[in-house]
Symmetry: C2
Subunit: 262 residues, 2 copies
């Protein structure tokens, strides 16, 4: 199996920053950093002990070209690579199919399923890596690279990864929106938002131990229509808060096998 030793990094944002740093830590040589913003790329290049590259269209001597840019820029960036590139070229996006990379390239995907912040350290050993490539050798090389930093490596097709990305929007973005609503309700009632933290931790802990459908509780699950009525009075008619409450309450109610209609 060919081992990936030299990596050329394209992108200098959050994912490039976190992933580049971690790969460097585990012995990969970052041979160049290319990013849209020269200041950002220079900073990252220095951090990774390399130089920034001022153009995409130069011969890159690397085993892997890692495209860690925003979803909508992946295809364009890949088209900008020099025609004779023989390195394996992967992107790090959950939503972009592998085939969005030009088919004259040796293509693959190296997608870490995590929500990255600049200021928060990533516990890499728990980050699931979803890899994909066009041949077994490249799959193995990407798998070996991922295993250097994480215990969780998954081989997923582009179709599966797309579904996973959608699932992650529900599990992360939408549940976070629920926390936003909760915090807004508390603020209006002059209660510190930290009062909900133990419940939030418990909510996520529960779902690690059993399917979410089994973990459900609350008034809609119980069919407690008096409490639902009282809740609705607390929210302005026509507000998006109440619209969301009504839709999600109806959905939980429907799933809970009550005799009466809500």
């Amino acid at each position: 199996m060919s081992t990936i030793k030299r990596i050329s990094l394209i992108g200098a944002g959050r994912v490039a920053h976190h992933l580049g740093t971690e790969l460097h830590k585990h012995g990969a040589e970052i041979v160049s950093v290319y990013g849209r913003d020269p200041k950002e790329s220079e900073e990252l290049a220095q951090k990774l002990g390399t130089n920034q590259s001022l153009s995409l269209d130069i011969k890159i001597n690397a085993d892997l070209i890692l495209i860690a840019v925003s979803d909508d820029a992946v295809a364009e960036v890949a088209r900008g690579l020099p025609k004779g590139t023989d390195a394996l070229v992967v992107h790090t996006s959950g939503a972009v199919p592998m085939t969005d990379l030009p088919d004259h390239l040796r293509r693959g995907v190296f997608y870490p399923l995590q929500s990255f912040s600049y200021d928060k350290q990533v516990r890499w050993e728990n980050v699931p890596f979803c890899i994909e490539a066009e041949n077994d050798e490249d799959v193995n090389a990407l798998g070996e690279l991922a295993e250097r930093i994480s215990r969780k490596v998954h081989l997923l097709s582009s179709e599966q990864r797309k579904a996973l990305h959608l699932a992650a929007v529900f599990a992360n973005n939408f549940s976070n929106l629920m926390f936003e609503y909760a915090e807004e309700i508390l603020e209006k009632a002059e209660i510190d938002r930290s009062i909900l933290h133990p419940l939030i931790v418990e909510t996520s802990n529960k779902v690690l131990m059993q399917p979410a459908a089994k973990a459900q509780t609350g008034p809609a699950k119980r069919g407690d229509t008096d409490t639902i009525k009282a809740h609705r009075l607390l929210m302005e008619e026509g507000s998006s808060l109440r619209e969301v409450y009504d839709l999600l309450t109806a959905e939980i109610y429907k799933r809970s096998d009550h005799e009466d209609e809500l």
Copy 2:
């Protein structure tokens, strides 16, 4: 300050079970257990080293009568207490106002903000207790009782507690519903649900460190309309999954200050 030593427990369900056990552990004497289901109450009474009471309408020699029954049964149960009761009478419900207890009683509330399962141990020291009573002496007595088992005791009015209960529905029930959707999407794509667990843990960890509005990420937050379009194609038109996706995506998009309309 009068200390609560003897407690009469009404209810033998999840909350009564967990809370009764914990109070007993911290030195409170449970003098009786009354529940609708004689078998359940007998079991709990035995566990708490006491006898079950076969009627509500007997003189109870206790400092505190703890009503831990379903929200819609609180008022009725309280009305069934003997007229001369001089114990402090509290319920454990987030949604029920203190004044739903008859006004000839010494009334209060003792609400642990947590989602209880039968089979999962509660880490009581982190459970916020929301207390309320009609006079300072009873507030202090309830506060002292709560502090025996938790580090987090809050004095909240019935109005505040009602808002908190609604916030908890968003933070717990609705975010759990988001996890359900995510698991359903994964199941359809034949991906094990555990792949999302690290992201779920990260989502809740993030919101402990910053307001949820600051923690938000994802396509709607970024204004990545291509990804949103691709996601929508994965969900059946008219399905409740897509209805929820559209509503919550629009809401995050609206909050994120993009130039174009979604």
